[in-house]
Symmetry: D2
Subunit: 375 residues, 4 copies
């Protein structure tokens, strides 16, 4: 029910149980193909395994559920089901030399990578919308406000250019995550497996090949979470600004979507997209903290910390994806009341003094940077 | 899929979308009955509304979903559906003078109250199991350990009595939450409604009547969350101890349930219940922080902070409920290897020195306190 | 330097190194007196120890510093210095049967108890100021705002009464902490010491006697931290409201203290007290989360989690104390512009409709509750 | 007093009030020189200002303290003192066109940059020590442990190589912070200042020139904090492993420093460095969450969130610096008991099976990567 707020858009779709199941099967398939290439298992077995893994709908999430309840990992059940499905000849070659953690960790990275696709789409659309606002209002005067007090004149172009700059900075870090942090984790039971296997699986899945397996050195998921939290922070800044400029007494902005009627008061138009984005964003710092806290793990596999990551990262990504979708909605339909901006400025203590000299050039600078970031 | 870890037991069942829907309808029914008692709406209208509200299965969660997406609250859609369902005569008396927040906040408290029932059941069973362990091993010697170093002799009875004391302290705070914090929030659009309505609804629903509506003073949900976080902390302590005493090199405890086989190594018996409890517990401090951060709200209704609470409290309660169920499973089937305890103690630097004089009396004290707490 | 924001008022004074040193000596003195009463050490030795402990200025914090660096506890160094100071006859009776954790934990509770005295003074003054505002403006009309949109008329009396109610709820929980959570922790090396010692020390120090020592069951500090976080949340709500109502475009409230000029803009009057309170409050949820996370400890003494509490709880209490002092400053000097409230209301979409019927009665109700809470 | 745990090493020295004062004066000097170069103020005035700013000991922290108490920023007082100190001719050119936030934000980045110097020194020394351990024990067999259960044989070389890999990953992210995130923030009152000024100040101070000022888009400090939290997570992993392998029953590692005696039990050797590192690390996730939460700010300057950052980032950096110093101490003096490793392995359920084939090659790989990272 609350998913309408917390799980808007397409990111959540990539984070369902089915998406996790598909990703785990993709890891098993990639592993089998890699082992065949390395001559460790017969080619036909690998082909058979990969074929069966390409039909995730033949597997039930309930199997994984029971496996988790009994083993604290879905992989035991998945491997058993997979062995049955591939038939007796290939069965022994399934999951060759791998551990539960190899499969779950690598699947997690795959799930994140797939979920980043719609997230980037929404983020870029939000950025483009912010760029349009900055360009259109490059020279629209408004009063600037510090500590919520009217301060000196500025432009709405610069105001929106800051949002744009924030979105672009967020994007750069997210690209780094995609291209440098989403690594396979293939180490075998105690992490000592021949790195050629990890290299092969990485190539198969389009993930990064790490120096070592990271089963217990959780920089990759922790930094991924941190960047997601930072992205959320930028979205929260934008949404907060909109709620403030949309206040009845200021009224320089209004949301333009169809949402926003009130149950009790017909004259209100509520900033529903901004409020929803903020609801998602407010939930993220605690989740990042959980991911950072989960870095403290024991020996070759954590007793509790690792298992806490799965739900936390899934939820964090869902919320950031949703906040991005809300921010896109917000920015693409934002109504700017330039007359009201002018009126508020005229009544400000400073009067209608000119905006700072550099404002226009800074808008241009942010727009140029945006074009460089998003091709 | 991960629900097998994160949502074990019956608490999660009380936190579904259906449970929320039922609770919101119960609030609308209680409001109607109260208004009729106060003479504010006709008796037959209240009867009709209450009758319709007693069939939550006639309403669809999708309606609420759409309502949330458009209004950032499920209540607009719910009220519209309810008005249609009660027919034209009663329609105008539905949701009389209430706001979305009245319904959502009061329903949230009702949902929490209902979820506490199975949580108390599991917590009491866990406490009773800890009490049995403490009593059975009142005089079982073992080596105590500080900073993970062997220190001086103690007894497993005292070790378990500390768990028991923690569970009992947790219980006392949770009883306080149930009896003093789970209050109706019925204030009308700006909080100024006649308190007789809140009093009536509180009596109808078995919730606390507060001094004022708490739409923006969020002590009730924040403290509820804090206590849940404290309960989780106790469970985490117990589970951590079990993982440590179950280490192969120590082996004084072992989980006795059927779970715990390893995918890669047949000789291992993994402490699945303890690991799962820890996975849940590790996720809770960040959620409590989110609830505390959500106390900073704006005027008569928060723009973002309030909407962040719904998912956060639901998840926090789910996780604490699950950790409690895991802890119960853990404690009810814990295997104590007294021979190993004796052997480890004999090899300790202190040798088999006697346990502290007070140990037995302290076990008795904890057992007596437990009997006083849980009737 | 930043202490002017983060450590305003008298609470911080009770949390210095000297305050900790004094508290630890008080614990050693109470322990010696208790042991003498129980006949475990000679009366003259206890008298001598207590006498020496009453001069904390004879001890240097550097001693404790070195002790912490070498032993991860200040107590080793303190006990050595104390033994030297009391002379050869009493030396062997110093710290009788106690551990570092007994002293540090009990001292921590004593420090908290002492810091609560000025905190209550500021909290009560803030509450009284809120009560005066509520009473004075019981019938002052203003426009209510939900989701930062003008909604329906209310009164500033009710607005302030909600603050009052929040402060009073916070106070009740803080009284519970003082009277039920601030317990001695006297258990000896593995927690099995005769409880008569804990009882005696509790009586000596005016702290609570617990069922068992809580060296590793951290409900007391965790709940103390949680309540402090909840108090902070109430203060943050008040401060946020003030910043919003003090916006240039709304201007219904203004801070009345001498602070608030701007470095760059002479026409601004910044809400310095509210901003400073918010700066403190924003820092608290993460600290509470750390305290909750520290509940997961190992066996008879935690390796890391316990040692993380000292700085965290000290800082949390400092910040909450500071936020309380700022809130008191804020509320005692708040300027209410009733003319502006009337003007804003007249321009609202609702026009100057009357405030809700129940508003005045609810103000009276909150005032009566306040009188009952703060004698 | 607790600084011996929380503020070990040289990082804390760079984060004192004096260090902040010096950094703020450096910003004022850099601003004056830049403005002179741009022809905006007379060269002699800039020279005079820079000269005066090079004597931070001529300024008192108390001045800043009072300024913060009255203005919620130290800069008002600093600028007044600086104007007096430079004399009447240069006075009007002090702080030309800048705001408090320009100075505080840029000084914060400068403070961080300076504190990173000793942090890198300790981190590199810790990494080198881990590399030596990995190399020396490349083929030392030990039993691997998953979920705290003995699993399959591995080598201590690989165990230490994972630590090394974690430290090196942490280092890479920290280098990114130093070289890409530590940017000047020079925007003037509403952010619209000519970017040539920011460029000049950046060149003067050796900080990054950003696209726009980031007064309210807090990606730079948030990401800095996130990376610090990730570094802490790696250190916590190492320290946790040491406490576990140093358990009396396992005894494969021991700390080799002089610290570690127990107050109550002479036979214990406590893992003081590991415990102290963990105490620091456990405090960091909550602080990162606070920094992320502070990204939600208002318009051109935050009312509360910005002011919360100063203490939070200072403390986070102090704790991470301290944890790094402890980890260096730990790793440089770690005692490895290879005989005990062999004995534990011989008793393991697997018996003395060989370590995985890839273990040695992975150690070499991590060592090669380390040499590439740290020149």
């Amino acid at each position: 029910m609350f998913d309408a707020i917390y799980a808007r858009g397409e990111v959540a779709v990539e984070l369902t149980d089915s998406a996790w199941l598909r990703a785990m099967l993709d890891v098993e398939a990639a592993l089998a193909r890699t082992l065949a290439e390395l001559g460790a298992i017969p080619e036909p077995a690998a082909t058979r395994i990969a074929e069966v893994c390409s039909h995730p709908d033949h597997f039930s999430v309930e199997t994984l559920d029971r496996s988790i309840a009994h083993h604290a990992t879905p992989v035991v059940g998945l491997v058993a089901a997979l062995r049955t499905a591939v038939g007796p000849e290939a069965a022994e070659h399934v999951h060759g030399g791998a551990t539960s953690q190899d499969v779950v960790d690598t699947a997690m990275m795959l799930v994140v990578r797939r979920a980043l696709v719609p997230l980037f789409a929404d983020l870029d659309a939000a950025g483009d919308a912010a760029a349009r606002l900055a360009a259109a209002h490059r020279d629209t005067p408004m009063i600037g406000r510090t500590l919520l007090q009217q301060a000196l004149p500025t432009t709405f172009g610069l105001y929106a250019a800051r949002w744009l700059d924030g979105l672009d900075q967020a994007r750069v870090h997210l690209v780094h995550v995609r291209d440098a942090e989403l690594a396979v984790q293939i180490g075998g039971p105690v992490g000592g497996r021949d790195p050629a296997v990890a290299a092969g699986v990485a190539a198969e899945l389009g993930l990064v090949e790490p120096t070592l397996g990271w089963a217990t050195i959780r920089v990759h998921p922790a930094l991924t979470a941190s960047v997601l939290g930072t992205v959320a922070g930028v979205l929260g800044k934008i949404a907060r600004d909109v709620t403030l400029l949309a206040q009845t007494e200021i009224a320089e902005l209004a949301e333009g979507g169809s949402a926003g009627g009130s149950s009790a008061m017909s004259h209100k138009h509520n900033p529903v997209a901004a409020v929803s984005a903020l609801a998602c964003v407010r939930r993220t710092p605690g989740l990042v903290a959980t991911m950072l806290g989960s870095m403290e793990s024991e020996h070759e596999r954590a007793a509790g910390a690792w298992q806490a990551e799965w739900g936390t990262l899934t939820e964090l990504l869902t919320l950031v994806g949703s906040a991005t979708a809300w921010a896109r909605e917000l920015l693409e339909h934002l109504r700017v009341d330039t007359a009201r901006m002018a009126a508020n400025l005229a009544q400000a203590p400073t009067g209608s003094a000119p905006a700072p000299d550099g404002a226009g050039a800074l808008v241009d600078r942010a727009l140029a940077a945006h074009r460089a970031v998003v091709r």
